[in-house]
Amino acid sequence: MSAAPEAEPPTDDPPAPGVEPLVRMTGIVKTYPGVRALDSVDLEVRPGEVMGLVGENGAGKSTLLKVLAGVVSPDEGEVLVEGRPVRMSGPRDAQRLGLAVIHQELTLAPHLSVAENILVAAEPTRFGMLDRREMERRTEAALSELGIQLDPWVEVERLSLARRQLVEVARALAAKARLIVMDEPTSALTEDEVDRLLAVVRRLRDSGVSIVYVSHRMREIFEVCDRITVLRDGRHTGLSRADDTDPDALVARMVGREITQLYGERSDQARDEVVLEVRNLSSGDRVRDVSLAVRAGEIVGLAGLVGSGRTETARAVFGADPHQGEILLRGRPVRFGHPKEALAEGVCYLSEDRKATGLFLEMSVRRNIAVTVPRTIAPKGWFRPRAERDVADRFRTSLRIACPSVDSLVGGLSGGNQQKVALAKWLATEPSVLLLDEPTRGVDVGAKAEIYRIIRELAAAGVAVLMISSELPEVIGMSDRIVVLSAGRTAGELTADEATEEAIVALATGIGTPATG
């Protein structure tokens, strides 16, 4: 592990006299096989404040919060609530202390309804029976705070990732806690949803609720946080009031180096050879004759609201879903019946939900990276561990994946590092067409910069990139062109210069100029 830089003196204002911090964690230490996740970390949350918690992937944020939530028992250190030390043996204890947690990895039961998930372990009952009216009432109350309507009785497994995350948030709101811990609550959300969430956070704070807010999006941090704690390699490297610092300084303290030009230089020497062309693609009930084209070396952004069918479009092109319409590779019509056929043609798809459809969590980093290249690691079908290890090690270094070794289980990695593994598995195939669905979901600024760099390099090398993203700055920053979907239809197309958040939202919500062709 790289050594931390001198932790500069905390630029923190002294607690207002007589204000006892709601929660104080001191000297928390937690080690996992081969990893010192937390190295005597402190965290203090005052009543009615929003404490930002930032740090690279694997810095220890989630672990710290899991300790606070009673999920992980620390090796050392103590947790004080209103000055009283507490011993937490499980999540229930934390709940009893008025703590609600939005975990980074969603903790919903896919087979159960939205209402049942939101009110789990706090179900209202009458005469021992669930009180359905009350459940609907509370569910709708919580959801409407976030400004979304969902049938309270729809199974969660039918919801998009974005919606699931909102349900997760709603659960925390419904808990009426005095401290809400939010571990990357927005990683799957689109701009307007994020804005609504931030509004909710402010409202809660004003009503005296304390919040710990984790995010890799500096914009959010600086919009809502009163104070910001920085973690680095499991160490506390600084605490400051939001007003006393600025994004660049913060990032520098997180990453240990300045990050200039997050999105890198747009190389406008996109060749004109059209590599991937999609004509009138329809798939399932979410994609209606979508058309788009990606040239060699071009990065095309695919924007749209949640549910607009971006994922389904990509999946259809990848041959994962049955579909109608034409798909041409370098002008040659192709029809993929199975992802394997797409792979054979150098087409790759990074799925949006790494946990459900991306990674093999109980398997090693090695396995996960090499899964897509059986030919390489098993020439003539005979497996060579060395080859597998080499492939894995190569990407572990090039993507800076933070893990004890390529033998450690992916399930044990931090969210961002998991995302890097998911990406590595596709880069290993040396693709010519890359379909990226939320490629930087849950990835820290430093890693984002790397991933952007990598994407640019690939593009420069002539790879055609189609990038789905709900983070508008990202789409705008990266894309040479942006295709906007609305309700499964191509709503329009914007060049890099035309592209503004307003323009995209306008098209996505259908109030923009109608698409041509």
Partner: protein, 347 residues
């Protein structure tokens, strides 16, 4: 591979996309939609077929016979539904039936206790087995398959050991009534099964513990993080399974007028079969009482139907196997068509 069309990790999804994607209504109505209704159609279809092909099968008397047989299976299957919904499995129910049968013989005949005492005592036998299953699973963290496989041996062995294999007869009419009698034209076991089913359905769909059963099976780590006492939930379901197996055993003993240590062999497979036919997933989180009951009915219907159709006893198993696959496949296919139809309507 339709598994991948909607984001979910459940490898079993394809197994019942029909049931799951359609339902957006409350837990109340749920059992009467999707897969269950399909199964109902299959059952009715088979009945219709038998009515046409034989004049002896679809008669009140004979249907009551079938109903009584199905009831005994159904009761066990309902208990199994609880276990399977948590993603567990209980292989010991058959042996629990045997042990309870022996216990019943002892308390009712040998000890000659008043029924008020004897019957609860023999039910307690099953409850105890379930308790032991649950406790061992929770404490040792050994997979349920192993624990209940062990219990399968233990319960059966104790039953054999205590009786050294001998059966016991000499039950008096009032007791035999539980298994052989009728009330308002319906066999007593059918009444019992109905009550059990209704109560179980309410518990699973309308009570906290019931929903926690599904939550645990649907995503156990999440259940823990959500503050569900997963261990209690597990204890609960195995106790239910054990107790209902005991109840079924009581009825069977009364029906056969004999307490025997060798009964119940292979019941676990029938029960699990009924539950899975009913739409449950062995990976947990899915499964309804009505489904299990319909599954049980389907199975008894097939067995009896084949005899009515004069199929040679030697070929019956083969055809039974084929019909089971056919029935479920049909239902599956129906289910998926239903979804496709529904999909268009969405958005």
């Amino acid at each position: 591979m339709s598994t991948t069309t909607t984001p979910t990790a459940d490898p079993d999804r394809t197994g019942s996309s029909g049931a799951s994607t359609r339902r957006t209504d409350s837990p109340w109505l749920r059992p009467f939609r999707g897969r269950e209704s399909g199964l109902l159609l299959v059952v009715l279809g088979i009945l219709a077929f038998l009515a046409i092909r034989t004049d002896t099968f679809v008669t009140v008397d004979n249907l009551l016979v079938v109903a009584r047989q199905a009831a005994l299976v159904a009761i066990i299957a309902v208990g199994m539904t609880f276990v399977i919904a948590t993603g567990g499995i209980d292989l010991s129910v058959g042996s629990v039936v045997a042990l309870t049968s022996v216990a019943t013989g002892f308390w009712v005949i040998s000890a000659d206790l008043p029924y008020i005492v004897a019957i609860p005592l023999s039910l307690a036998t099953g409850l105890a087995c379930g308790l032991l299953n649950g406790a061992l699973i929770v404490l040792t963290k050994v997979p349920p398959f192993i624990i209940t496989l062990g219990m399968l041996g233990i319960a059966r062995g104790v039953a054999l050991g205590l009786t050294s294999g001998s059966t016991q007869t000499g039950f008096a009419p009032p007791f035999l009534g539980i298994g052989q009698g009728s009330w308002l034209g319906l066999p007593v076991p059918v009444w019992v099964a109905l009550v059990v089913a209704v109560v179980a359905h309410l518990v699973l769909t309308r009570t906290t513990i019931g929903r926690h059963v599904y939550f645990t099976g649907s995503n156990e780590p999440a259940a823990v993080l959500s503050g569900i006492r997963v261990q209690r939930v597990k204890m609960f379901v195995y106790v239910v399974a054990g107790s209902l197996a005991a109840l079924s055993s009581l009825l069977e003993t009364a029906r056969l007028s004999v307490a025997q240590p060798s009964t119940g062999v292979g019941y676990e497979l029938t029960a699990i079969g009924a539950v899975v036919i009913g739409g449950a997933s062995l990976f947990g989180g899915r499964g309804t009482v009505l489904g299990a009951v319909l599954g049980a009915v389907l199975l008894s219907l097939i067995t009896n139907g084949l005899i009515a159709l004069q199929v040679s006893a030697y070929w019956q198993q083969a055809i039974q196997g084929a019909v089971i696959i056919l029935a479920v496949a049909l239902n599956e296919w129906r289910g998926r068509r239903a979804v496709a139809a529904g999909r268009a309507g969405d958005t």
